[in-house]
């Protein structure tokens, strides 16, 4: 009897790991294909596309596509722009949205529930529907800089950052997470005379690692993959992000090897960011049930 149970356990493990390996393979195939293809000339890449050779570093392997990609487009500039815009937006968004969520969760004020409902309602409004009004507005906003007051935010980093700092989804994530924090902690701090800001900074935020990671990853992906808004507001090359830069490679005769090289390059920051926050992200999914 014990032998049968042992065998069943072994079989279950084999099946489980087979399924997991299969899923891992399905998810990693595109990445492997992209990286391997970035090392092959376009003609070989296309010829290998229908066979297993597509996933193997065989044939004429070199870094030429990477050199050519840097010649075709200012790749470093695009990556810098995206990392800057994404980084600033993520940090500002975490600060602002967590503070807003704190106010919605712990502070009692008139109209709080209605305000939260309105903010959550914005989740169902697709960005495409507000893109044009936002463009018209952004093109007329004032800005005070070194040269005094200027009008219009087009062709700048701020036009890619400011409209995306606050958003309903990030606030919602924080609200959901804050609701699960022990209310006694907050009450005790209030009794001790702590200010709301001190509670937010010294008690709530230190306990919010998982939700910070989740919100950061979701925001990072959304910002890093921005395409529609940047093509509307960045007519000057110096402000363009990576996804607009990708279009530089889609010419009449497409250089697929260069496209794969560029995609490999721009995927690096995303993977690095995800790997850095992976543990906290998984902990957050486990605790809140929110999927990225």
């Amino acid at each position: 009897m014990a032998q049968i149970s042992q065998d069943n356990r072994g079989l279950r493990l084999v099946v489980r790991y087979t399924v997991l390996c299969l899923i891992a393979a399905i998810f990693s195939f595109p990445l492997i294909f992209m990286i391997i293809s970035s090392l092959k000339p376009s003609s070989q890449l296309l010829a290998d596309a229908h066979s297993f050779r597509a996933l193997l570093p065989v044939g004429d392997i070199s870094l030429q596509n990477y050199f050519d990609a840097f010649k075709r487009a200012p790749v470093a500039l695009f990556v810098f722009n995206s990392v800057l815009v994404t980084g600033v937006t993520v940090i500002a968004s975490l600060a602002l949205c967590s503070a807003a969520a704190f106010a919605f969760t712990f502070v009692h004020w008139k109209g709080r529930d209605l305000a939260l409902t309105v903010i959550l309602a914005t989740l169902i409004v697709p960005f495409e529907t507000i893109a044009i009004p936002l463009l018209l507005e952004s093109s007329k906003l004032p800005w005070i800089g070194a040269g005094g007051i200027t009008w219009g935010w087009l062709n700048s980093y701020r036009v890619q950052i400011v409209p995306f700092i606050a958003d309903g989804l990030t606030i919602y994530l924080f609200v959901q997470y804050f609701k699960d924090l022990p209310a006694e902690l907050i009450e005790a701090a209030r009794v001790e005379g702590a200010s709301w800001f001190a509670i937010y900074r010294r008690i709530v935020m230190p306990l919010s690692g998982p939700v910070l990671a989740t919100a950061a990853i979701l925001k990072f992906l959304a910002m890093y993959n921005q395409y529609l808004w940047p093509i509307m507001v960045t007519q000057e090359e110096q402000y363009r992000p990576v996804m607009v830069g990708l279009q530089y490679f889609f010419q009449l005769n497409r250089a697929w090897g260069e496209i794969m090289a560029y995609l490999s390059l721009i995927t690096v920051p995303v993977l690095a960011f995800y790997l850095y926050l992976q543990k906290a992200f998984i902990a957050s999914i486990a605790s809140t049930g929110v999927k990225g």
Binding site: R72, L154, I231, V233, Q235, Q247, Q251, N253, R254
Partner: protein, 418 residues
């Protein structure tokens, strides 16, 4: 004396300042970002123009082609258009109608010899002019025609519908090819109206009734259009062509011998010549109303908001020199706009390997509907052609397409002048 010296210096400074500020900056948007050759040529033209006179200095901002139209639309909405724009030929009427562009005032004697497809005319006025055109041909091999015992069609005597059908059947029956015909179904978007609506026009139909541009009724669902739809569908149901094509097959299929014939543009011609030394570029077949191919490529025009339209026109006129037309053709393989420029290009001069495309463009080039509604009609046609290729009922699909086009025309008040 001292005061006099200071006065002279001040006057000189003011004079210099006035002279310096007399150079007006003209901004220009171009769709060629990412194309090193194209960027080099356009930058050379700008450098030459800026050095040739002191009134204007052109500053270039390049965009990737796929993002260009959206950027221009956004720029127009935000009141942020440049002085000089480039525009894809069939989109020009929409941009003119929408108030993005103004008529182009250049000496028309300078464009008298330009290919018809390079002149962007709308409502009787010139709005844009192209330095090149593009053309499509039926690419095959001499050895293929010989093996299948087919006549070599010429510009004067293209294949008839029956001859084309016989050619496809012979290729299919030979069993040597994956498909007889590569239509480029892997390419989407503008390729459909550019490459396939000329078949419809050769049948006698059209995307819209060009006599009024007020409806597609009869043009896109009349007898001729129905005949086109049935012919188009049979290409796929009878196995002559594939309705879904892999991008790799489009790029490499003809060179790999998978297709007997390939419907492709002159931009891919050098690759085909490299693949086979007996490559032939055949004219479009005549389905009854004459052989037709698409015409009009990217062109230069002046934005409606330009404060210096005369300067913008001056730049465009400067760019129309044969040497620049030849540079673009040498660089990106497109057809030079004039015979004199073609004579400067090895590929397009008489006897050149691509000279046939100049003749094709001149003889068979047909503009897509010259109406602001084209931008919508192109998408409707693309969907209809794609649905029919995938087995949709021809009559119902074309009727639905007509309804959609007519509804758009009505919604926009017939695209009357704004």
């Amino acid at each position: 004396m001292k005061h006099l010296k200071w006065s002279v210096a001040a006057v000189a400074l003011i004079g210099w300042g006035t002279l310096a500020s007399a150079t007006e900056t003209l901004t220009m948007w171009y769709h060629g970002a990412g194309n090193e050759v194209e960027s080099k040529i356009i930058n050379q033209i700008i450098t030459d123009f800026n050095a040739s006179q002191a009134d204007y200095a052109v500053e270039l901002q390049s965009f990737p082609q796929a993002a260009y139209n959206d950027s221009v639309t956004a720029g127009a909405l935000a009141g942020n258009l440049p002085d000089i724009l480039d525009v894809d030929g069939p989109n020009m009427p929409n941009w003119a109608w929408a108030g993005y562009m103004q008529p182009l005032t250049i000496d028309e004697s300078k464009i008298a010899t330009f290919l018809p497809g390079t002149k962007g005319m709308y409502n009787g006025k010139l709005y844009s002019i192209g330095l090149w055109d593009a053309a499509i041909s039926l690419v095959t091999r001499k050895s293929t025609l010989e093996a299948l015992s087919l006549r070599t069609p010429t510009l004067e005597q293209p294949w008839t519908a029956e001859e084309f059908e016989a050619a496809l059947k012979a290729a299919k029956d030979s069993g040597k090819y994956k498909y007889a015909l590569d239509l480029g179904m892997a390419w989407k978007g503008e390729w459909y109206p550019y490459a396939f609506s000329p078949f419809l026009q050769s049948f006698g139909g059209d995307i819209v009734d060009r006599t009024t541009y007020a409806s597609a009724e009869g043009a896109l669902n009349g007898d001729a259009a129905q005949a086109w739809g049935k012919w188009w569908q049979h290409l796929f149901t009878d196995g002559y062509a594939q309705a879904d094509q892999d991008g790799a097959d489009r790029d490499n299929g003809f060179g790999a011998g998978e297709y007997a014939f390939s419907w492709n543009g002159n931009w891919a011609a050098l690759g085909a010549l490299k693949a086979f030394d007996d490559t032939l570029f055949l004219p479009a077949p005549d389905f009854g109303k004459g052989p037709k191919i698409g015409a009009a490529s990217w062109q230069f025009g002046v934005s409606a908001k330009s404060a210096h339209p005369e300067g913008a026109a001056k730049f465009i006129e400067f760019a129309l020199q044969d040497k620049y037309l030849a540079d673009f053709s040498n660089g990106i393989g497109l057809i030079p706009a004039t015979p004199s420029a073609a004579a400067l290009v090895d590929n397009y001069k008489e006897g050149g390997p691509l000279a046939v495309f100049f003749g094709l463009s001149n003889a068979q080039g047909t503009l897509r509907p010259v109406t602001p509604g084209y931008v919508v009609q192109a998408k409707v046609f693309e969907k209809a052609a794609n649905d029919i290729a995938h087995g949709a009922n021809v009559a119902a699909t074309l009727d639905a397409a007509v309804d959609e086009i007519d509804a758009d025309i009505t919604k926009n008040n017939g695209y009357a002048a704004q």
